[in-house]
Structures are given as C-alpha cells and as structure tokens.
C-alpha cells in the first residue's frame, strides 16, 4: 500500500490511505476531540465534535469546517486542527452538549475516567451561558450488570450502535426524537444481550455504568490495576483487574488486537465477584479426624510439621491438576508427583477430546485463528457448538465476519469501510456464508445463511459428508437424508470457494464424532489447497495449557487405586464432583489417606479435604493461561495477597522442597518456574522470553499499577496503624503496587491501565496502539505456542457408528451450556447469579406432549442414577427424541452427557 502525503497544521505527514482523518490524527498522536466515532464502530458524523478546517489547496486561506471522522485521507489533503474557527466550533459543540448535562461529576461513577470530562477540558469549554432548566429523563432498571442515568446522556449514539449494530442486541434502542431522544429499553428490565457490559466502556459518559462496581465503589484514580486474563472460558480475553482495599472492584477490557479487541462478554466482565466472595478460603485448615465436620486453622508455625507428614519421600502421592489453574501451578504439581502420578482432573471423555484437538493442531499444519482473524473469515461453518454460551466472543466475532462482503461491496462503490451507515445500507441483508449446525436455535441463526438442527450424531454426519464432498479420499458416511446431502454440498461449495474459510467446533456436546468430523473437514480443505482455519472451542480457561502437559485422565486414577491406597491426594483448584460421578469421586477419596485441596472457594471437594490450602485467584497471582488458539498469556496480580493466601505453585514448591531435600533449584519467583517449564517441555519453550521478566525496569523503575492520582496511600490503613505501611513487594513481576513508577507506555503485556495526558478515559488507549483498532504498540500480548507445521500430513478420522436409537419413553439428553451458570467460578459472582436459570430441560412440543408437560412446568428427569427436578422449556428447534439439559448449573450433579434419560411426573 503506497502512503499518501497530507498536511496537518502546516506539517507534512506520510500516512496510510483509506483511513479517515480522525483515526489518522489519533494514531499520529494529534488530539482531536470526538464522541461518536469508535474505532470498532466506525464513523457516523453525529456529534460534530471532531471538526477541523479543510483547505482546497495551498492558496485557500479560508477553508471550511469538515468533520474529521467523515473525511477520507487522500493525497494532498490540507487541514488544520488548530484553526481558531475549528477550535471555536468544537468548543461550541461541547457547550451545547453541556446545556443539559447535569453537574453531578462528584457523584458520578464515570468521574475520573469520563470521556466527556476529558473532551470538555480539551475543547476549553468552561463557562455556562445556557440559563434555562435542564432536560430530565426517567432512568431504567437494566438488570444486575448495568446502571442507567439518562440525564447524563450526550446522544452520541454509540450505545445503540454497539448494542444493536455490532452485538446484535434487540432490546436497547433509541426512542423519541429532537432533544428528547432516549436510549434505553422499551420498559425496565435486564439487558438481554450477552455483551451489554461493553456499554460501560463504549458510553463516553456516565449513562451506562458498571453496577457491580457501584456495590463497592471506588473512584477510578484510586484503583490499583493489573493486566489480567479472563478465566471464564477458553478464549483468553485480556482484562484489566482493579483493586482497592484488598478486594477486586471491577474488570475492564484490556485491548488486545489479536484477541478481544475492545470488548468482553458479560460473563468475563461481571464474573469476577467470586474473588471477593464470603465462601473464599483464606486460611489453612486441617481436619484432625477423618470425616469430621470440624476443621481447625493451621498456624504458620505449624506448616512444616503438617506438610512434612504428607510429602515425605516415602509417601505415595497422586496429583490432580485443573483446566482452570495456571500452567505453572499444574506444572508444579506434575513436578511434585511425577508425570506418572499426575492426572489432568478432567473426565476421560473431556481429556481425550481435548487431546485429540491439541495433538491435531500441533501436527496438522492448520492454523487456529485469533479472534481477530475469525473476524476476517469469509465462509464459516459452526459444527456443533453453542458459541454464544461456550465462547461468547467468537459469536461476537462472527457477527463481524459475516459483514466482510459488505466492505468489499462498499469499496467497489467508493465508500470507505469506516463510513458505517452507508456500508450497512449498501449491503442490506447480504452476508458472508455462515452455516450453523447445532442442537437448537440461538441468536446467531439470524446471521446464518442456513442452519441445520439435529442430533449430535446427525451433526457429525453432516460434517463427515462435507469432508467427503471436499475430498473424495475422506471416509464415506451413510446418509439417508436428502436435505443433509444438499446442505453438505452447499457448505462444501462455500468453504471451498472462500479465501479464508473457517471451521468452528468444540467439545461441549460431548461427542467425539463431531470433533472428528470438524477435523476431517479441515483436513479435506487443506488437502484441496485451501487456507483453512480451525477454531476448536474448549471448556475452560486453561484447557489447552493443561492438555499440552503430560498426564492422564481422572478416571485412570480411579482404576489404579483399585488395589492400592494413596497416601496423599493433592487436588489443585478443582472440584472433582463437577468432573466425574459422585460415586467415583467418593471412591477415590476413600482410597486416599490424606486429601489436600488447594482452591479459592468452598465447594464439595474442599469439604472433603483433610488439609485445605487457600490458593490465590487469578487476581492475586501471576501465571500463564493458554487459550484455545494456543496463545499463552500472562496475567498479573491485582491484589497483593496477604496472610496465608499463596499462589498454588508456591504452595506446591514448598512440598517439593520437603519431598526432595537434595533439590537445589528453588522457584523463588514465577520466572524460575517458567524457565523450568520451558526447558523441560518443548511445547512451552517459547514461554521463557515472550514477556519481560521480573527484573525488567523502565528508566530504573518498576511499572506502576496505580495512576499518579492514586489517593490515600498514607491514610487508607490509618484505622489500623497510623504509620505508612511498607510498600508491598511483587517479586514475580515488574509491576509495583504503587503510583511511584513508570506510568506511561509500558510493554504491551504489562499495561495496567490506560492514561495519556489529557485522556483519562479508556480512549487513552489510542496512545497504546499503533493505530485505532490495530495492534498494541510493540505487538499484541501473548505468544502462540501452536503454529501450523509446514508439510504436515493429516489422516482422516473414521466416522465409526453414527446410528442413534431412541426409545419412546427415553430421551437422549444432551448438554445445554449456559453463559451464566455453567462456568464454575463466575456462577459464584452475585451479579451473574441473578442471571442463572434454574435447572431446565428443553424439548419440542410433541415430546413434551408425550410426557404431558407444558412450557414452564416442572418434571422429574431420571438420568444416570440422578433424579433432577427440571423446568420444561418448549423449543421446537430441537429434534424429537432429544432433550437438552442445562449443564453444570450450580448445585446440579455431574451428568456425563449425552446419555439416556426418562421423565416422570412430579
């Protein structure tokens, strides 16, 4: 792309063509005030704040006001940002916006990181000439996540553009007109869209604010922040975790141009409250007598006597890892117990499906796209995964991907891609092909070219059929369904003709054949020379990382203890009752003399622990998670953990020392364990160097977690002691728990907050990116551990038997994962809790008639020794003979689905 020369205030710049002037100036570090433009949403020219003066040519001295967001950057463009008339106009825009804005900054949740405050200062508006009563509105109750204060609205339209146009929401809209436009729902009620939390960041003022933060409010400049990674699904969205007084106050999106961009899903944003929950384990507790209910706290002085007994050399120890614990903690446990005695802490089924995927990706030569690359896909097949519930941000990325065709069409007509409304107008309903093969309908259907609703086995059949159409060498599959044949042909055709075809699948249906079918399609496309991408959704935040470690499935531990006993069973951040059947866990526990559990929250497993150790959460520790893309990402401590709380790997390190007295290497800090891991396991070899180590300094300083405006350092603990407490040390990272330190432009993986002079809101992010919506300066954080292998040869999976027999009185029960409720940790968050459904079953009307249950009625489901009271939800999109059971909701027993189930009248 050849650059174009433009002149801004008499200075020449060479810039990328095709952009608008506003984003160009922002990436050049030239501040232009603006409201309605958002890099992810494009330009609409509504607020008129980004006005600049444009000159026809060098001889033009008068020029005219143009909106920089609507002005394409072209060769020879001459503009002035500083022009007095342009400046005066921008100030006037602010003045008129402020005519109705309440002067409630001191009590406004947005204060301190308010884009409107910044813009008011930036334009210089400071005197109020409007002397009439202000317009007022009624506010709405928008549910547990979002507060609404419409009087603060400056009508930039960003909220509805994000919510409706970008995220596909329906229940937030703009109502009325003139200076009484209203942004809200048609009536009070919970915002339904799964991405509603982004309104908090998209809104330039305090209309939409974080209700969970309000419950323990802290002024924004008083927060201590850390770069973090979301722990609530396998996508690894980057977050900023913020602390005050030892509690986690909120989660915001941390920009990562390759992963989540500007946004987060509501589970990721609001699931954090578990960190502050009263069920948190904060002390070391010991059960003096097996099966006793009573536990006692273990004092620090008693640690060595307590631990020595458990980990002495002669003890036979089993370690059970976890897909929600960091790579380091899992690796530490594996090192403690040895590879032979290390178990992944997931069921055989999950283990083998995850392994199948990770091994395929390691050897296949096929690329797993980043979320950003998902947005670039031009033909997509979703095979058996309810993305909106299991990987919400992929669903959001797909909404953008299907619009690629509209950018092509717009470009042909000379409409720049950032000119949002005309691009949408021109495209109308035209979308890139997206095919969805799932069990029941969801909100993505509306953007799909075609959807296929059937049983897991039929979905797998479809997948195998697509592979067969693409490559005759792919295994044959018997099909009686002509519709399936037709749609398989269509899908194959679309994928084959695409330049960036994408297959998305996963393991949430618990069906091996779906995974095999998806991998076969990828193989077939690749063998046809296609540049296919494959995104396999995994269940948890470190499912992929765990899968890259040696180890065995949980059931293997059970089998091996049939004729022996374990001295010490150590369980890392894992509630085994969510993994395998209750009986199996009980058997394992019976065979264990001592059960040691490291975890954050009290659960069924911790209640069985003989020794319970408080493990720091993601917010109180540093560690690495590997997302489903194979991207390893480091999260950093937001909370300085105190007293007996410790990172799991640090606890385990103590045990290693006990067990192996001769060991000379001690993991003093995270970098040490990362180094061991990198040296020991080839797949993790890149982990060592991808992010600065703890010794990293900028201008001899650590990177500050707190803004320079952080207040109360000397006073905040005065109720305990009046002397200023000693600064907490973080030996694991180059970040410091202080406002004294490097404030600006840390390396991209170490950004704890966004701040640039003049920019206190999240818009300060511009200064951290190479261009708006681009990459972080210095590269997006994270390192991909899995890259396509050149010249890889893949073989096909054989379909096996795809027959299903259904009986009239029995249904095949398939799992229905929920964005709110199916994830263990976020389900403890009090805001998320309000969104969790009671256990339910979805089935079609005809099947409900058979069991004579009406929509909303309760029934009893008999399933694998369990009898569950479930609410019946009628959904005619699910095929006859199949019923979907809400999976992993709090309080529900583990059920290994799909399986057969029977309904009884209650």
């Amino acid at each position: 792309m050849s650059m174009v020369k433009i002149t801004i205030d008499g200075k020449q710049y060479e810039v990328k063509p095709g952009k608008n002037l506003l984003e160009t100036c922002l990436s050049l570090g030239i501040d232009i005030p603006h409201f309605c433009f958002h890099p992810a949403l494009g330009s609409v020219g509504a607020c008129r704040l980004c006005a600049v003066k444009k000159f026809r040519d060098k001889d033009d001295t008068r020029g005219r006001i143009v909106m920089s967001c609507m002005e394409p950057v072209t060769e020879g463009l001459i503009v002035s940002v500083e022009d007095s008339e342009a400046r005066a106009f921008r100030t006037s825009v602010l003045e008129s916006l402020m005519t109705n804005h309440p002067h409630d900054c001191p009590v406004c949740d947005e204060g301190g990181e308010c884009h409107l405050q910044d813009m008011t200062v930036m334009t210089g508006h400071n005197y109020r000439r409007f002397d009439f009563p202000k317009r007022t509105y009624n506010n709405q109750d928008l549910g547990p996540f979002i507060s609404h204060e419409m009087n603060r609205c400056i009508q930039c339209y960003r909220c509805v553009r994000f919510y409706r146009d970008y995220a596909g929401g329906r229940d937030l809209n703009v109502y009325a007109s003139r200076n009484h436009v209203y942004f809200g729902r048609y009536e009070d009620g919970t915002l339904e869209n799964e991405f509603s939390g982004n309104l908090v960041e998209v809104c330039p003022t305090g209309v939409f604010t974080d209700k969970t933060l309000k419950n323990h409010f802290t002024r924004k400049w008083d927060l201590s922040n850390a770069p973090s990674v979301c722990v609530h699904c396998s996508l690894g969205c980057n977050t900023i975790a913020s602390e005050r007084y030892g509690s986690l106050r909120r989660i915001m999106s941390r920009y990562n141009g390759a992963v989540n961009g500007y946004f987060l899903c509501d589970r990721g944003r609001f699931g954090y409250e578990f960190v502050n929950d009263e069920k948190r384990i904060k002390t070391v507790q010991i059960r003096l007598h097996k099966n006793d209910i009573k536990v006692e706290q273990v004092e620090n002085s008693q640690f060595s006597s307590t631990f020595d007994k458990l980990f002495s050399k002669d003890k036979f120890i089993y370690g059970i890892g976890s897909p929600r614990a960091s790579v380091e903690s899992n690796f530490a446990l594996m090192s403690l117990v040895g590879k032979e005695n290390f178990f992944h802490g997931i069921s055989q089924k999950e283990y083998s499906l995850t392994k199948t995927i990770s091994e395929y990706l390691l050897q296949s030569g096929i690329r797993t796209p980043s979320l950003k690359q998902v947005e670039k896909a031009d033909a997509i097949l979703v095979l058996g995964e309810d993305l909106i519930n299991t990987a919400p941000m992929i669903a959001l990325a797909l909404r953008q991907a299907v619009r690629n065709i509209s950018y092509n069409e717009a470009s042909e007509k000379g409409i720049p891609v950032w000119n949002d409304a005309p691009v949408r107008e021109l495209a109308q309903d035209k979308k890139n092909p997206l095919f969805i093969a799932t069990l029941f309908s969801d909100s993505l259907d509306e953007i799909a070219e075609e959807f296929f609703r059937s049983s897991p086995k039929e979905i797998a059949k479809l997948g195998f059929a697509v592979a067969k159409v693409l490559d005759d060498k792919a295994p044959d599959v018997k099909i009686e369904n002509s519709y399936l044949t037709r749609i398989a042909g269509e899908i194959a055709h679309s994928l084959k003709n695409a330049s960036h075809p994408l297959i998305i699948s996963g393991i949430s249906y618990g069906d091996e054949s779906i995974v095999h079918a998806a991998l076969n399609i990828a193989t077939a496309l690749r063998s046809a020379g296609s540049n296919v991408m494959l995104n396999m959704v995994l269940p948890e935040s470190n499912s992929m990382g765990l899968s890259l470690l040696p180890g065995k499935p949980l059931e293997n531990a059970l089998v091996s203890v049939e004729d022996k006993e374990i001295d010490t069973l150590i369980i890392l951040e894992n509630d085994l009752y969510r993994r395998i059947s209750e009986d199996s866990v009980n058997t394992l526990f019976k065979k264990s003399r001592q059960i040691l559990v490291l975890d954050h929250l009290v659960n069924k497993t911790t209640q069985k622990a003989d020794l319970l150790l408080p493990a720091a959460t993601f917010a109180g520790s540093e560690g690495t998670l590997v997302n489903n893309e194979g991207r390893a990402q480091r999260y950093y401590k937001a909370i300085d953990i105190k007293d007996q709380l410790k990172e799991s790997w640090r606890w385990i390190d103590e045990f290693i020392k006990i067990r192996n007295e001769s060991q000379t290497v001690r993991w003093n800090r995270l970098d040490d364990i990362v180094e061991s891991l990198s040296d020991e396991l080839a797949v993790f070899s890149k982990l060592k160097k991808y992010t600065p180590d703890a010794d990293f300094r900028m201008l001899n300083a650590k990177i500050s977690r707190q803004t320079i405006r952080y207040s109360g350092r000397t006073a905040m603990n005065a109720n305990i002691a009046v002397s200023e407490p000693e600064l907490s040390q973080d030996r694991d990272s180059p970040l410091t728990f202080s406002m004294e330190g490097q404030q600006e432009n840390p390396p991209s993986s170490l950004v704890p907050f966004y701040w640039t002079p003049g920019w206190n809101s999240v818009q300060a992010m511009y200064n951290y990116l190479d261009e708006p919506d681009g990459s972080m300066k210095g590269g997006d954080p994270g390192i991909r551990l899995i890259e396509p292998v050149e010249g890889a040869k893949n073989s096909y999976f054989s379909p096996g038997s795809l027959d299903v027999e259904t009986k009239e009185d029995k249904w095949i029960i398939v799992p229905v994962y929920q964005i709110f409720g199916s994830d263990e940790l976020s389900s403890v968050s009090s805001s998320v809790m309000q969104r969790i459904d009671e256990p339910f079953v979805i089935m079609n009307q005809a099947d409900a008639d058979i069991i004579s249950a009406a929509d909303g009625e309760y029934s009893q489901l008999e399933i694998l020794q369990n009898k569950l009271k479930v609410k019946i939800k009628i959904d005619n999109s699910i095929v006859a003979g199949f019923a979907g059971l809400s999976a992993n909701l709090p309080g529900m027993p583990f059920v290994n689905m799909p399986c057969k189930g029977k309904f009884h009248k209650l």
């Binding site: 008129s96 200076n179 009484h180 107008e425």
Partner: protein, 424 residues
Amino acid sequence: MERPLTKHIKPGSVSLNMKDYIQLGGYGNLQKALKNIAPAEVTALVKASNLLGRGGAGFPTGVKWSLIPMDGDKSTPKYLVCNADEMEPGTFKDRYLLEGNPHQLIEGMIISAYAIQAGKAYIFLRWAYKKAEKILREAIADAYKSGYLGKNILGSGFNLDLYVHSSAGRYMCGEETALLNSLEGKRAMPRTKPPFPAISGLFGRPTVVNNVETLSWISHIVEHGAEWFKGLSLTPTGGTKLFGVSGRVKNPGTWELPLGISMRELLEEHAGGMTPGHKFRGALPGGASTDFLIEDHLDVKLDFSTVAAAGSRLGTGTMIVLDDKTCPVAFIHNVEKFFALESCGWCTPCREGLPWVEKMLASIEEGTGKMEYLDLLNFNAKFMGPGNTFCAHAPGAAEPLQSGLKYFHDDFVKHITDKKCPWR
C-alpha cells in the same frame, strides 16, 4: 401566459380523472417516450431543459438522473421516489398538483422511471394529505388497469410498479435521505452524503428522489421540448413555478407563474396586496426555512439565483408574509419552535442549538429575555450554519433567525428593555 402544470386544475372541483386526462391527450407523451426515445435521451432532454428541482434546493433534475449508473448489472434494482412529504410551513403547492391532476404526476413518474430504468417507484406522501392519498390510489389503480403501470407497459417491455406510502408524519421526512430511511422502515434520520442516493439510495440501490412539481413537468418537457420549457420563464432558468402566498394578504393562494416575476408582482397582483390596516414588514420567500426578505427586496425577481443573491432562498416558492400587526419575535419563535420539535436528534448543533434558541425566543417574547440573548441567538444561528450540521434542517432553521435578528433588531431590543411584547 402559459400554465402547463395547472391549466386543467379547477380549484374547488374534482380532480382530473383518467378519462378526462386521456381526452386531453394524457399518457400520449408516455407512449411517445417509450416508443421513440431511448432512456438516455429522456435524461438528456431533461438535462437540456435545465429543469431545477422544485422541492426547494433547485438542483438540476437531469444532472441528478445522469448520476444513476446505467451500465451496471441489470439485475440491480433501481428506484424512483416522488417526494410528496410537503411539510414546509406555508407550503401547499404540491397538494394542489396531487389533488388536482394526479395523472400528470403519474405519467411524469413513469417517463422518469423509464429514463433511469427503475422498476419500482414510490410516492412518499405527507401523512395529512388524506384526500390526495385517496385520489392517488384511485389514479394509480386506473393507470394499472389501462396498462400504463405494471408489466410490459404499452408493449415496450418496460415494467414499473408504483406505490403510495403515507408517511407517519415528520418534517424530517422531506429531507430526501431521511425520506429513504423512513421508507425503509427506519428512523427518519438523514444519511451521510456521499454516497448520494444515485449510488446508494432506497435499500442501498440507485435511487432518484424528485419533488411532485418537478416530476409533474416531465411529460410536458417530453411533449414540447427543452427550448419551450426554457422560454417559459422570465429569467434564464426555465419553466413556470407554483408560487404561493400566505399571511395577511387579501387573496392568499397558489398560482403557477413564470420564474422571474418580481416579489411585488406576486404580492400585489396575485395575492391582492395586504389586507386593509396591515402593512408589509417582510416575508419568508420560500417556506419557513428561508431568510426574510423585506420591503427593500420587493423588486427582487423570484428565481433561484436572484433570490439567493438577495440573501435568501427561493425554496418552495411559497411565501409567508409578516405584517406590522404581528410580532416578529413571536413569529420567529413560532417558526423555531417548529424546527426544534422537528429536529431528528442526530447531530449536536441541531438537537441542542434549536431548543436553546426556542427557549431564548420564548423568554424574550414573554418579557423575561436578557440582552445577552441577542448575541447568543446570533451565536447559535452561526453554530447551526451550513457545513456544521449533519443535514440542512438546522441551517434552514437558522435562516429566518439570523435574518430576523438583523431586520427586526429594534423589535427584539424593545421586548427586552420594555420587559414585554409591544404587540400584546
């Protein structure tokens, strides 16, 4: 004096029906165009006639048509939309044509659609024009029955469907892109330009939007040619124009007159001069969104360029007269209140500026105004000016305000110093 558009309209009597229209030679020009003139030639003819859009902006109609891509994919639909959302205060000329001679419009639309090869056409009608709606629906039904609409019109192979869409009633719908949004079922908010409707209009497809009066001309131009059209006006623009006058004049109404007659002639000869006891103080020459002209301007020739030179706009050509018994502040307040209420709420200067203006004017009129409001009114008028806003709504609203402040400055001051309205 020729009155091609209105000669067959008799005020107070029923509209010209299909039978009468045919008897007068109606649809003959359609036949002529479909048989003998290629689409591009129709456009060339209209271009040559220099027919300027009669909706208010005065953009050359032929040029607008020629922006429609004609060599593109034949399967891409194209649209013709008639803007009959006549909501400019003081304007009632389109209604006269719609109710009086619907087939003149329909024939014009069919020829126009043929010129741009549009397969579908819409008449976007003001919500309040119930009578016109009924007349149009009947006329369209008759045109279908006679084979002037539908498939293979008059054996030419050209197909056209014509629909009447009654608006939900917003001033903003008269803005052509807001009209398109409204027609699509969206909020009536204007669109950014470029792209212009000729590239991405209704449903994102090439679209021409023309005013009722403009489209009513087309069959006449096909019949008589461009030179004839040009000869109809006193100034070089071409054509006659429907003018109207409202206010305290003896004979308010609408008349078809050559472009270029003077304001004085219109007021005195056609509107009959001021009613006894009332003196002329000024007028908004082309609807509420145009600058005041005052006594000094009475000899200004009423044409697009000449009115513009006098500091106003010909607009819709329908004049609202301000007399000496009417308070100019109240007059302007009334106008600005209308514009404030009709703002769509999209861009800041319009949404926030107009209510501020309205509040200050109300305050001055009530006797509670402050002297600094005069500066603030001027400031807002400039703030809402052309180029500063998303569409022409606020700049239009600023026109009577800025000129009113200039011409009636003393009246404003008197309101403020006397703390009351001198007319009350």
